[in-house]
Subunit: 171 residues, 2 copies
């Protein structure tokens, strides 16, 4: 219920009243499990992040390009199948955050950076490369949000286009 | 004072107590001008957005590449000179927001998209182009935040690199 709410509204607009009404529970029951709304928000996002990271780690074998396609495929499938969760996650972390929810979003971003560098065989990537991959991760986020919202572009096109963009940006 | 606070901490962590203490004013004085914290937040961000958009509109003449350099130069100078304001702005808008503060951040993003398309002579840009420019805008945001935080890269390098990335992504 929390993920659905956060997927449809900015976190600051969600009240305890909304949560108990949407989940059809009593206020005391809410307070038996959570001290405040922030705790629920963090717990909900953590469940998404754990699931997403597990999927990204599973992504295939083969050449760098093939594994990148597999990684993106997992991410796109996840965004498509769990769009509420995916939007809730992005809604909770801006490009710059230091809060506990932002830290969860950054965990996914840094994980993608680490996985991508490891797959390219780079232990200590130079600053310009880190910048490129971070920029590409934000390109992926913006693209998937546009795709979920407007979806006048096919899933296959998105995947190939994002892989191409990373290669061209790296070049 | 508000911009300084929002530039250093996530909006959700800033309290009225923090504001009145940092501004050295009384609580009643705060409430004479604002009904709540959200009003102050929106007013502070609006002042940044207005200033930033005015600067972007001033950016030079010449070829598309020259004007793009000028546009980026204005943005980088602004981010460098008013880093608190710039970080406060980015901290308030994730890649996906529908709140009033997120709408202000989106106003800047859409403005850059409109200006870039107008300068390229495109009245109705195709979806893939919109996606590319939106992705590039988020690349610019992530890059400038990295630059403000780590700054082991020169201002000139950033400007040229971002222009090159747009051209290469468009190609």
């Amino acid at each position: 219920t929390a993920l659905w709410l956060y997927g449809h509204r900015p976190p600051a607009d969600v009240t305890i009243e909304d949560v108990v009404r949407a989940a059809d529970i009593s206020r005391p029951l809410f307070y038996r499990y959570f001290t405040n709304l922030r705790e629920l928000h963090v717990a909900a996002l953590r469940s998404v992040v754990d699931k997403l990271i597990a999927r990204l780690d599973n992504a295939g074998s083969g050449t760098f390009a093939e594994r990148l396609h597999a990684l993106l495929g997992e991410l796109i499938d996840f965004a498509g199948a769990c769009s509420d969760s995916y939007l809730a996650l992005l809604r909770s972390g801006s490009a710059i955050t230091t809060s506990d929810t932002g830290a969860l979003v950054d965990r996914v971003r840094e994980h993608v950076l680490t996985v991508a560098c490891a797959r390219a065989g780079l232990a200590e990537p130079p600053p310009a490369l880190v910048l490129t991959v971070r920029g590409w991760v934000s390109l992926v986020e913006v693209t998937l949000v546009s795709w979920l919202r407007e979806s006048d572009i096919s899933r296959g096109w998105i995947e190939s286009w994002l892989v191409e963009q990373l290669f061209t940006m790296l070049r």
